[in-house]
């Protein structure tokens, strides 16, 4: 992400699940158009405030990178803000700020997004900026710009990962969960050495391959007249030629034949346990079940793991469990931070006990209904935000082909029975099919961690 703090990179999938879920008869009315150069345009009208959200998704993320060239999708995202053929360096932000606009972008394994939130009278400015960097970025690309953003990204890595307690756990998890030839084998932020090695030519090649209208979706939500807005989109974007079709990465099938046990030392007071299971891809069968299981196990004070680990025994300071949904396969991750005097082994035993209980005995109907109620409420809350709606349209379109898939999304959950939940926990939460990472204070390897 360009500006904000960066838990987002690896929480993106989780946030996306939260932002997209729906209510009774959920709808985000929209129009969908396709320009001859392949650009997809989605428009949503809402006049609550005189503002608009202009949101562009490029269907490329760190999963499209190659080993040795990691961190590119994200480094590239940074360079997109540094000016283009007809926009001087710095003026991307100058222009937007001078009309009251904010902007940002973010990168995950599957996609890169860019957005502007601004008063509706600035529509042309946002479209000019977005079209110029899609059409003419390379005209203004220099070694200096790549070097500058390389330094910024390295500091992003230091700030959000290296200098943060437990900040390198995620990297260790993906490296060890996914095989070497899997597109999710490396962290989205990339490795320091690869960032150092990125040249202007590498960056240019990446641009030509992925930043083409036929690999982009532009969504505008807010105070617009859709017909006029479409005219302006055509005016700014039609001249940009289509590129070659983008080849989507393919993930090799893999199973963990045996559990993997890893230990990392970090500058922390408390040990933390991560249990990670490979699970079905976003919106494929099993994905909704894992969302529900995450909620039953660790959604709030009354959830099962919270009750056992924090409330009843006081063994843990906190616990989370969630499905991190992604295009080529998801991860289900349980994270528990131990309190002083407790080992991660003790904690894992309790977690395993609760998983076994869920496998043996269907949850209460009320535990399933809770998820549906929360999603309906969440959808209403998110519906207030222009960017929230633009992102929902984008996300549904990318993963399902239908921008207004909110109802269908909710129906996935309504269609589940409590038996389905137990069945999914049997199928996906097998002890042999998981990675167990212990992060322990310096010098505590072999004492507080889980070893086998």
């Amino acid at each position: 992400m360009k500006k904000m703090t960066h838990a987002f990179l690896w929480m993106a999938a989780l946030l996306a699940v939260n932002s997209l879920t729906g209510q009774g008869n959920l709808q985000i009315p929209y129009q969908l158009h396709k320009l001859p150069n392949g650009l997809t345009v989605i428009l949503h009208e809402d006049h609550t405030v005189p503002m608009i959200a202009v949101d562009v998704w490029y269907h490329v993320g760190s999963g499209y990178e190659k080993p040795g060239r990691t961190g590119f999708a994200h480094l590239f995202e940074h360079i997109m803000f540094e000016g283009s053929g007809n926009v001087q360096e710095g003026d991307f932000d100058n222009l937007l700020e001078s009309v009251g606009g904010n902007n940002n972008g973010s990168t995950n394994t599957d996609r890169t997004n860019y957005y502007e939130i601004l008063p509706s009278n600035g529509l042309d400015i946002a479209l000019f900026l977005e079209s110029d960097r899609l059409g003419y970025l390379l005209n203004a690309m220099s070694e200096g710009k790549v070097d500058g953003q390389r330094d910024v990204v390295k500091n992003e890595r230091r700030q959000s990962y290296e200098n943060r307690p437990y900040g390198l756990a995620y990297q260790t998890i993906v490296e060890n969960l996914y095989p070497k030839d899997h597109p999710y084998h490396w962290p989205t932020i990339g490795y320091m050495d690869d960032l150092t090695a990125a040249s202007r030519d590498d960056v240019a090649e990446f641009f030509k391959k992925f930043y083409v209208p036929n690999n982009a979706v532009l969504t505008i939500a807010g105070d617009i007249d859709p017909e006029q807005a479409l005219e302006r989109v055509k005016y700014w974007f039609s001249e940009i030629p289509a590129g070659n079709p983008v080849v989507k990465p393919v993930a090799p099938n893999f199973v963990l034949e045996a559990p993997k046990y890893l230990t990392m030392e970090d500058n922390v007071q408390l040990p933390r346990l991560y249990l990670v299971y490979p699970t079905p891809a976003y919106f494929t069968p099993g994905d909704a079940e894992m969302d529900v299981i995450g909620n039953i196990l660790a959604g709030g004070t009354s959830s099962r793991l919270f009750q056992k680990l924090v409330y009843e025994t006081g063994m843990a300071q906190n616990v989370s469990a969630y499905q991190s949904s992604q295009a080529l396969g998801s991860m289900f991750m349980i994270t528990v931070t131990a309190r002083p005097g407790h080992t991660l082994e003790e904690i894992m035993n309790v977690v395993d006990g609760e998983i076994a209980r869920l496998q043996e005995e269907a949850p209460a109907a009320r535990e399933l209904q809770r998820v549906i109620n929360q999603q309906e409420s969440q959808f209403l809350s998110e519906s207030q935000s222009l960017l929230g709606k633009a992102e929902a349209l984008q996300e549904y379109y990318y993963y399902t082909g239908n921008p207004d898939w909110a109802n269908e999304d909710l129906n996935r959950f309504k269609a589940l029975s409590v038996g389905d939940i137990s069945a999914a926990s049997v199928h996906y939460l097998k002890p042999k099919n998981r990675l167990v990472l212990s992060v322990v204070p310096q010098g505590q390897s072999g004492k507080l961690d889980v070893r086998r």
Binding site: H6, Q23, Y30, Q31, L32, H33, K34, P36, T48, V49, M51, G90, D91, D93, N94, E97, S98, V99, G100, G101, N102, P119, S120, N121, G122, D124, F128, S131, D147, D151, V152, K154, N155, E156, R158, Q159, E162, N163, D223, Y235, E239, N267, Q269, L270, G300, T301, S302, S303, Q307, G314, G341, Q369, R370, N373, Q375, E376, S377, Q378, L380, Q384
Partner: protein
């Protein structure tokens, strides 16, 4: 819903008939914005419940949801001197069981309904907030009533929360960000100042805290006379009066609470505090001094000045530290404004080997802000003024804007005048407040980083006296956590 898919064949037929030049957008000059569309600010209705609680209602009926935000003068600045952390613990414990429901039952019900309901304490206020779909309002209101009127404060729950807070104190020792901000507050205000006391409590205060302390804090501060309620969303005045009148009938009395905030003395010269965090990949930097109260007549010029200095992406600090030098992922500044004098703070996390150079750049920018250009002022005031309507997208945002006006006693029509007041600001106003409110000669600087690596460079800058502190000097020793 309407879907139109343009066939590419049709389009190519069209394009063939037009000269290509006509298809190109004009890019030689930047486009200008069109006419600004006005923001229609919602009307605020004011009334009181029978018990005297002031209510501010903003009706908004486009979505079936409602937000209720209670605000009490009961933040951590009201902690007794002998018991820091009491306000925060009282708020946390209001969530741990109320009325007939114990902690688990209350949490389960809130979670089942899919509503958001909870209490939390900040420095000035203790807030209770409810967000609910109208379809769940009937079930949500009794929970809200219980949480405010009948928190259980069970002793076992307090023991649980006590342990949780002690562990959190221990975890703060891992976080350079927290160490830096805590140290900065203490050094600017002095440790006993109501804006600098440890809001999360200390080992001693947490271990001493009893149910009776919470009960009396609650009794004294959570009263209709000491707070107000803002409602935004799908509710009429008649509904609000009827529903809440019944719910809060038994609630009465109390007194309006206020506390005199001692003036924080200006630092004398530049005082540098360096705290060691061995092997840190970055150094956390904090620079600043006492700032202004929210009631300052200079609010608008200060907004514009701070935007130029460090309040936006294109601000001087961010541009310098991030875009020009690449020392950091971001740098910024803020005037935290409270009822008393808040903080002026400039901050960043910078790569360790550039700690000294970054400090030098900060000093350069703090000195240079007394001169600004017309272009900078134009951009900054537009950025703040024209983006303002974005605060009114959601009912949570609307409630928060209105609550600010009430809390800080801002004048009638304040929100309506906001945009125009900002657009009036000129260079001379900005330069005047920069000279008045930013003083690089009398400054507190806190650096948390790898001392062995960064101390020599910082010393060589000769900015001022360097005091070496341990994180325990700031946070206290690691707490002993028993079972």
């Amino acid at each position: 819903m309407k879907i139109s898919l343009y066939s590419s064949i049709l389009f190519f037929a069209l394009i063939g008939t037009l000269p290509l030049a006509a298809q190109k957008a004009e890019r030689s000059t930047y486009p200008s914005p069109g006419a600004l569309r006005p923001l229609q600010l919602p009307k605020v209705q004011e009334f009181r419940l029978g018990n005297g609680l002031p209510v501010y209602l903003i009706e908004k009926h486009d979505l079936p949801i409602v937000q209720m935000s209670f605000s009490f003068n009961a933040g951590s600045m009201f902690d007794p001197a002998t018991m820091p952390g009491l306000a925060s613990m009282t708020a946390n414990m209001m969530n741990e069981g109320a009325g007939d429901r114990d902690a688990l039952a209350l949490a389960e019900e809130i979670s089942f309904l899919g509503i958001s309901l909870g209490a939390g304490a900040g420095r000035e206020n203790l807030n209770v907030e409810l967000f609910t779909p109208i379809s769940k309002l009937r079930e949500a209101l009794p929970l809200l009533g219980d949480l405010i009127l009948k928190p259980r404060f069970d002793a076992e729950e307090l023991d649980r929360k006590r342990t949780e807070s002690l562990v959190r104190l221990a975890q703060a020792h891992d976080e350079a960000r927290i160490i830096a901000s805590t140290a900065f507050n203490q050094m600017v205000y002095g440790k006993g100042h109501p804006y600098a006391t440890p809001a999360g409590g200390t080992e001693a205060s947490l271990k001493a805290m009893q149910v009776g302390d919470l009960q009396s804090f609650h009794r004294e501060y959570i009263t209709p006379a000491n707070g107000f309620l803002v409602i935004a969303g799908d509710m009429t005045r008649a509904q609000a009066e009827a529903e809440l009148g019944t719910l809060f009938r038994s609630w009465s009395g109390g007194m309006l609470k206020a506390k005199a905030i001692p003036d924080a003395p200006k630092p004398k010269g530049v005082q540098i505090y360096l705290i060691d965090k061995p092997d840190a990949a970055q150094s956390e930097l904090r620079l600043g001094h006492p700032g202004v109260a929210r009631s300052t007549p200079d609010y608008f010029p200060l907004e514009v000045m701070n935007t130029i200095l460090g309040g936006s992406f294109t601000s001087r600090l961010n541009n310098n530290l991030r875009e020009v030098h690449g020392y950091s992922y971001g740098a910024g500044s803020a005037f935290a404004q409270l009822k008393g004098k808040g903080l002026f703070l400039a901050s960043s996390a910078v790569q360790s080997d550039a700690s000294d150079k970054s400090l030098a750049e900060f000093m350069k920018e703090l000195n240079a802000i007394k001169d600004v250009t017309a272009e900078e002022v134009g951009k900054a005031r537009n950025y703040q003024a024209l983006g303002f309507p974005g605060n009114f997208e959601s009912i949570e945002g609307i409630a928060s804007q209105v609550a600010n006006v009430i809390s800080y006693n801002l004048p009638d029509g304040y929100l309506n005048a906001y945009i125009n007041e900002l657009l009036k600001i000129q260079e001379a106003d900005v330069e005047r407040v920069a000279k008045t409110y930013v003083d690089p000669k009398n400054l507190v600087i806190v650096v948390v980083g790898d001392q062995a690596k960064i101390e020599p460079g910082i010393k060589a800058l000769k900015l001022g006296k360097i005091t070496i502190l341990k994180k325990e000097d700031v946070l206290g020793p690691l707490p002993q956590i028993g079972e």
